[in-house]
């Protein structure tokens, strides 16, 4: 269980096995009620409530919409999987299979990432259709890919504690963390318009760096240099993955 997977062959085999976990998650979890509600409907209505009645150019709104879409969708599947599987006893099946814990969570991260990526394509296409010009398209694509992976890793961290088998508990707790992050990440108010304390607080949120990156790619201007945004997102991704694995390794026995 806690063993280190060493050797190229074992790692490659384990990676291939994680793709079966991805397939399983896509079949089962993409259509689950809490995933649809917390991943699609809530951010959609949150955006509408922000947009309606405000006189802002569409180019200024798209980075925020994209940030919310990527963040909410990529973090909607991950928290549900582990408690759901613990309750259905299928987590025990996975753990008694010849796959490591890392393989199981890699599968969960990839499936959350794909869900986020798939849905995030829609606001990008919608922007292009309504005539929004994207200044740096490659940076936008790379930014969306990196940040949805970062948010997917964050979602697995959200499911690590408390070690409950009740999906709604984790979904509620993760919403309590996710919603405040949306309000401090420069989605509704650009970073440069925030007071100093606001900018300081926003720096702890990974969403800040993606919104800033999207603003750079779409409008050509950003608060942080785009290289910094990329580096910080990479650092967050690594930190989330390491922390998630460590905490899950510590708590997994309590779920069985």
């Amino acid at each position: 269980m806690g063993e280190k997977v060493m050797g190229k062959n074992i790692s490659w085999n384990q990676f291939k096995r994680s793709l079966f976990i991805v397939q399983k998650n896509i079949h089962i979890y993409y259509s689950k009620g809490p995933v649809i509600i917390f991943g699609l409907l809530m951010p959609f209505f949150l955006f509408l409530s922000f947009y309606i009645g405000r006189d802002m150019p569409i180019e200024a709104l798209i980075p925020g919409l994209l940030g919310m879409t990527a963040f909410f969708t990529a973090t909607s599947t991950g928290p549900a999987i582990v408690p759901w599987e613990a309750r259905a006893k299928t987590l025990e099946r996975l753990i008694s299979s010849p796959v490591s814990l890392r393989t199981i969570f890699l599968g969960d991260v990839i499936s959350s990432f794909l869900f986020g990526l798939l849905i995030s394509v829609f606001p990008v296409i919608a922007s292009l259709l309504i005539g929004v010009e994207i200044v740096y398209p490659l940076i936008l694509v790379l930014g969306v890919v990196l940040s949805t992976f970062c948010f997917a890793a964050f979602s697995i961290l959200l499911s690590a504690y408390p070690p409950t088998d009740n999906p709604s508990t984790i979904m509620m707790l993760s919403s309590m963390i996710k919603f405040p992050l949306v309000f401090i990440s420069g989605i509704f108010i650009p970073l440069e318009q925030l007071p100093i304390w606001g900018r300081t607080v926003s720096s702890i949120s990974p969403l800040t760096y993606f919104t800033d990156l999207a603003r750079y790619a779409i409008q050509g201007k950003s608060y942080y240099p785009f290289e910094v945004n990329f580096l910080v997102l990479i650092a967050f991704t690594i930190a989330f993955l390491v922390l998630a694995i460590k905490i899950h390794e510590h708590t997994i026995q309590k779920r069985l």
Binding site: E3, V5, H27, I28, L94, S96, S97
Partner: protein, 309 residues
């Protein structure tokens, strides 16, 4: 790595909340053996199987599967196993077919073999026509048969079966028992936990009886029955009435009850008791009309061992 024994367990111990669930047990299961693990509820059967299959970590001691330590070399050990757990854990939101494809994939079975084995197993267990149906619509018996298919998709060297026939109808029980026998005959080692003494008696080469986390006895079902002290019974009748209390003085006899025209004697050693009875009949000039030895059922032995421990 090769090993003569399929399972080797040494001083395995597990506590839950300060209570000992499995207490320093040691045993081996030979390659290709059908091994029964018997015990009452809460005896430690499922905890033992969960440690052997890598679900929970032992607090003390070690266990290996074909030489691979279940903790230190867990991936290699688990690669050799097929598992049917006590509680159904197929994915109810997936079809039977997709469950098999998932488990085959997790065990690294290639696509052609997965398809071939899944088809053959589903046909063998009479589930092929329902392969595309979601498991949530399956009956308990169908789910149990699917779990067995999922355990066998990787062609395992050892099968762990935790109460595989519990709560099933007679037909499903018979099908599962026949399949277990067939796979065992083809060389698969089977580790079976059960409450059902008759099932263990019919299927197992050897049984271990566990109670309160400790192993009370390990042997073949027949030897376990024979070795049990005080449960061997002799039924004897003479041509003239005999005082039962006289027979209690004979060696090895520790109980005597009159049953119609016969006497039923509880003995420790059947052979010694028969010799003593023959000598007694000669000395009293009695003729023995009938003499039968009655072996205890495995259930009798089980209850006695559980009571003693």
């Amino acid at each position: 790595m090769t090993s003569e024994n399929a399972v080797e367990v040494t001083n395995l111990t597990k506590h839950f909340n300060g209570l000992v669930a499995v207490n320093n047990i040691s045993f081996e299961v030979k390659n290709s053996e059908l091994f029964g693990f018997l015990g009452p509820n809460g005896a430690g059967k499922t905890t033992t199987i969960r440690m052997l299959t890598g679900v929970i970590k032992p607090d003390k001691g070690s266990a290996s599967i074909f030489g691979y330590d279940v903790v230190k070399q867990g991936l290699k050990a688990r690669q050799l196993m097929g598992i049917v757990p006590e509680m159904s854990n197929a994915y109810v939101d997936l079809s039977a077919w997709n469950n098999l494809m998932l488990v085959g994939g997790l065990y690294g079975v290639n696509k052609n073999q997965r398809t071939e084995r899944a088809t053959s197993l589903l046909k063998k267990f009479d589930l092929y026509e329902r392969r595309n149906q979601l498991v949530k619509g399956f009956s308990k018996g169908m789910k149990q048969k699917l779990l067995l298919c999922m355990a066998l998709i990787s062609d395992p060297q050892i099968l762990f079966l935790d109460e595989p026939t519990s709560g099933l109808d007679v037909e499903s029980q018979r099908l599962i028992k026949d399949m277990v026998r067939e796979f065992n005959a083809n060389g698969t080692t089977v580790f079976l936990t059960t409450h059902n003494m008759e099932e263990a008696n019919q299927l197992c080469d050897r049984v271990a009886i566990i109670n309160r986390g400790k192993i009370a006895e390990i042997d073949s079902p027949e030897k376990v029955r024979q070795q049990s002290c005080g449960l061997q019974t002799i039924e004897i009748s003479f041509d003239n009435p005999v005082n039962a209390e006289d027979l209690l003085k004979l060696p090895s006899v520790n109980g005597a009850n009159k049953m119609g025209d016969k006497l039923r004697l509880c003995v420790d050693d059947t052979g010694a008791a028969i010799d003593a009875l023959v000598d007694y009949a000669r000395s009293k000039k009695l003729n023995i009309i009938s003499l039968n030895t009655l072996a205890p059922s495995l259930e009798d032995v089980f209850l006695q061992l559980v009571k003693e421990s």
